[in-house]
């Protein structure tokens, strides 16, 4: 661990847009303080690029405190960099050493096309949730919040799934670019809670169907997703999703509830 300012070599994926093929470009990041976050280090590089009237490196970021899920980056072969259970914006340069070469790539997945440089289009995640990741209650007319007690263990378990920030690190980490950890976390959160029961079986079918449509790969229970998830969502979610899906498909009479509004 370094406490002096450091100099690094960055190998960054640059790609003008989705249609144009990309390539790696090497940059020097100089005088980097170990107290900087990784994104602040990129800010420094970008500032110097802009000063030279060059195009800065584009990457998604927003809250910079690990909750919005905007930031991504595949850093030296790992999503969100070398440390466990944090996002790239929470990664600090003290995790690197002077003279290191850092390779920065975008999430790689057919379902997450590169928009520019390191920014990808993750709208597939939105569409999966639009397909059924909700409880159909309108505003107003709901019962008192304390009318249904929920055992703390169940609430906590649902919460563990609900912590997902939708960053896509699971897809990036998976050798098959599968989105099952993400999808299952959303299904599990609602599937565990009593409020989610009425649509439990239709929800799992609708969301899995959309997930398949988006072109993600399949799960082989390797567990790279859970190892790289910044919120430590577990494979248990996937098992729960599988179980619900098979129950819904094979043993339930209800057909897929038509969420499209035509039914």
């Amino acid at each position: 661990m370094s406490h002096e300012n450091m100099n690094l070599t960055l190998k960054v994926w640059r790609q003008k847009n989705t249609q144009t093929p990309g390539k790696f470009v090497t940059y020097k990041a100089e005088g980097i303080s170990p107290d900087m976050s990784f994104l602040e280090m990129l800010d420094v590089v970008n500032e110097s690029l802009i000063k030279k009237q060059e195009d800065p490196i584009h990457f998604d970021h927003d809250c910079r405190e690990g909750i919005c899920g905007s930031c991504s980056l595949y850093i030296n072969g790992r999503p969100h960099g070398p440390k466990r259970a944090i996002t790239t914006c929470q990664l600090h340069m003290r995790s690197f050493n002077d003279g290191d070469t850092v390779t920065i790539e975008p999430w790689r997945s057919a379902a997450f096309p590169v928009i520019k440089d390191l920014a990808t289009d993750r709208s597939a995640f939105d569409r999966i949730q639009q397909a059924g990741g909700f409880i159909s209650v309108n505003t107003g007319g709901v019962p008192d919040a304390n009318s249904t007690p929920i055992p703390k263990v169940v609430a906590d378990e649902a919460f563990n799934s609900a912590t997902c920030i939708g960053c896509g690190a699971c897809v990036a980490a998976c050798k098959n670019a599968s989105a099952m950890l993400f999808t299952s976390a959303k299904i599990t959160q609602l599937g565990l809670l009593p409020q989610g029961q009425p649509e439990r079986w239709s929800r799992v079918q609708a969301m899995v169907k959309q997930m398949d449509k988006e072109g993600f790969g399949n799960c082989t229970n390797t567990g790279a997703c859970e190892a790289e998830c910044p919120k430590e969502i577990t494979l248990m979610n996937i098992s729960r999703m599988n179980n619900d899906f098979f129950s819904a498909k094979l043993f339930r009479e209800e057909h897929t509830h038509d969420h499209s509004g035509n039914g």
């Binding site: 107290d35 602040e40 195009d55 639009q130 409880i135 107003g140």
Partner: protein, 644 residues
């Protein structure tokens, strides 16, 4: 000119119910003939878009992020207030109303705040029905905790990520409507202007951030739910993308901007480490439930701490000054944010600050750990402690946290009446984007409450009244105003792209932030503000001469996006300073050093300043015009706030 806030007559507790009855309705079959634009998909925007679509309106929603779920409401940590009185500790709608009015230092509307308190209980019900996993007791019922400025436990929470859970709830409701085809969602779109026809807002102009396409969108009404402008300070707890552009462009089209100088500086943030810093991170206010704030009693000890000759845990108990507990025995560490922040600043100003910079005080959990055990503390605050450790590389279980105030929230915003309508008909502002409910200081766990109250339970009623009045005739997109406004936006974009100087927009932003923090931060003076105004004017002129913007419009262009936002921040900064200069009193987050009590507390001037300052844009480089909305207090007595 005096502004009419359209506050209904009658007793406080009946105003909202009566008003709801008096509002015109749009019949269900007609609702589908109306189009409504919602800009921003945070708590206010997502809840409004979903609720309006459920009613049958056609909604078009926009966000600049790549997903509606990433709006900055997601980052709220602590909780959401509601007058449920589940704890049997004497809470009530009236008490929540009273605490909020008092916490806001009597600079908010009584009627709005009471409505907020009334709605608070419905919000919790709504969120639970959506599957929001609030913290629960072993018996299965909802748990509460305490927040600053209140002596009851009324804060509902979801670990340290209440904002994310509430937003995911609203986002799921929004998703449902997108799926049903009632909401058309545009992500990675930034609103750059409002289209005005005959004095009414009839649409917006957006830029597709991926392709650069500038498009117009027409609607019967436009709802701005675009959040606050804390990033005018460059360093704040806001997300990097949070900006004032939508609100500011609306302001330039005629919407008044109210109380811009009311800024909340949050007391418990991680201190700045250097110039490279791009944002500040909040440590939830909930930490003040168990953490004790202190600074060394003497400057000598503080010096030793700054030079790292001793560590915090080596400072003897009698050498520590638990200054909040000492000065405010009844509220202790849980005084409102403005009070806690100012006291921390006083410590630093006295030379008793710690950390290498001297701009920090301690938030100590040693007592809590010895009382409850490390495991209990970890269960309660583990994720916050981890966050602190990630950023500072210091273990808060062993050493007290270093904290310092940072810009967190802006109480000011677009002026709205009781119906959340700006003075421009058809243009509404919800959530942090408006100025309405928090007065001069917002209490913890009230922002989430207000955003959701506006979106779920106010706008669905009040918007109908306006729509019923104007009728469902489609908006004519061929009206020249659309083409003209689009051209204005294009001109502005091209002007920005033509900047080929030698200073980056981030450098301008940082400079603006320094000016604002120095002169319009926790302590403001006539002299400083006057100086700041001149500096900002200069900065603005320099920006349009020497800034550099790279790339072209027809691509994802962070440089261009940032440039537009910084240009607007510079203009807003000037207005904030103007407002602060005008308000020659101290109230809540606005502390004029000329106006303080003998003990150094904020001293209000109710006789001269019990009004909302709403500013009207009069043209580029013109002084804005002040409009006053007198604040009438019929139910609470204005007193010097005391938390002693």
């Amino acid at each position: 000119m005096s502004l009419n806030a359209n506050i209904p007559q009658g007793p406080l507790a009946e105003k909202w119910s009566k008003h709801k009855f008096n509002l015109k309705l749009v019949n269900p079959a007609n609702k589908r003939k109306y189009n409504v634009i919602v800009v921003g998909t945070g708590l206010a925007g997502a809840s409004a878009a979903a609720s309006l679509a459920e009613l049958g309106y056609n909604v078009t929603a926009f966000c600049f992020q790549d997903s509606p779920r990433r709006a900055h409401s997601i980052a709220a940590q602590g909780g959401i207030n509601a007058a449920k009185n589940y704890q049997n500790d004497g809470d009530s709608v009236y008490r929540l109303f009273y605490d909020t009015i008092k916490g806001g230092d009597y600079r908010a509307r009584e009627a709005n705040v009471h409505r907020l308190a009334e709605n608070s209980v419905n919000i919790i019900d709504q969120c639970v029905a959506q599957g929001v996993p609030f913290a629960r007791e072993y018996g299965g019922l909802l748990d509460n905790r305490s927040f600053g400025g209140a002596q009851v436990s009324r804060t509902f929470y979801a670990r340290g990520q209440t904002g994310q859970q509430l937003l995911l709830g609203a986002y799921s409701a929004l998703n449902r409507q997108i799926n049903l085809g009632k909401v058309k969602m545009y992500t990675r779109h930034e609103m750059l202007d409002v289209v005005m026809i005959d004095g009414h807002a009839k649409g917006i102009v957006t830029r597709n951030l991926v392709t650069g396409a500038i498009d117009t969108h027409a609607a019967h009404a436009v709802l701005l739910c675009t959040g606050g402008y804390g990033n005018v300070f460059y360093l704040s707890t806001n997300a990097i993308g949070s900006n004032v552009t939508a609100a500011w462009r609306a302001h330039k089209r005629g919407a008044y901007f109210a109380n811009p100088c009311y800024t909340q500086i949050h007391p418990t943030c991680i201190p700045v480490t250097g110039d490279h810093q791009s944002k500040l991170t909040l440590m939830s206010e909930s930490l003040r439930n168990d953490g004790r704030v202190w600074a060394p009693k003497t400057v000598e000890i503080a010096k030793k701490l700054r030079n790292k000759e001793i560590t915090a845990s080596q400072v003897k108990e009698e050498d520590r000054d638990y200054f909040l507990e000492r000065k405010y025995p009844s509220f202790g560490n849980l005084v409102p944010r403005d009070v806690a922040s100012r006291n921390a600043k006083d410590m630093a100003d006295e030379g008793r600050g710690v950390g290498t910079s001297g701009f920090a005080v301690y938030l100590d959990f040693a007592d809590a750990i010895s009382r409850m055990g490390e495991d209990t503390v970890r269960a309660k605050y583990g994720n916050l402690f981890d966050m602190y450790y990630q950023i500072t590389d210091e273990n808060p279980y062993k050493q007290p946290m270093r904290i310092y105030p940072a810009v967190h929230y802006t109480m000011g915003g677009l002026w709205v009446d009781y119906n959340l309508s700006t003075n421009v008909p058809g243009l509404y502002a919800l959530g942090e984007c408006n100025f309405s409910d928090h007065g001069a200081n917002r209490l913890g766990a009230s922002a989430l409450m207000q955003g959701l109250s506006d979106g779920y339970f106010v706008i669905p009623y009040t918007l109908g009244d306006y729509l019923a009045t104007i009728g469902p005739k489609p908006v004519d997109k061929n009206h020249p105003a659309f083409a003209q406004t689009k051209q204005d936006v294009l001109d502005n974009v091209n002007k920005l792209l033509s900047l080929k100087g030698n200073k980056t927009v981030v450098e301008y932003h940082r400079e603006l932030g320094h000016i604002m923090w120095e002169y319009c931060g926790m302590a403001r003076s006539k002299e400083g503000l006057t100086k700041a105004k001149a500096m900002i004017k200069e900065l603005k002129a320099d920006f349009w001469k020497n800034a550099v913007v790279v790339g072209e419009n027809e691509e994802l262009n962070l440089s261009l996006e940032r440039a537009g936002r910084v240009a607007d921040f510079i203009e807003l900064g000037e207005l904030m300073v103007t407002d602060a200069l005008m308000r020659n009193e101290s109230c809540g987050g606005h502390f004029r050093i000329e106006s303080q009590t003998e003990e150094g507390e904020a001293l209000r001037d109710d006789e001269n300043y019990a009004f909302v300052a709403a500013w009207e844009f009069k043209g580029e480089n013109q002084e804005e015009e002040l409009h006053k909305e007198e604040l009438v207090f019929e139910n609470v007595k204005l007193t010097q706030r005391s938390y002693k």
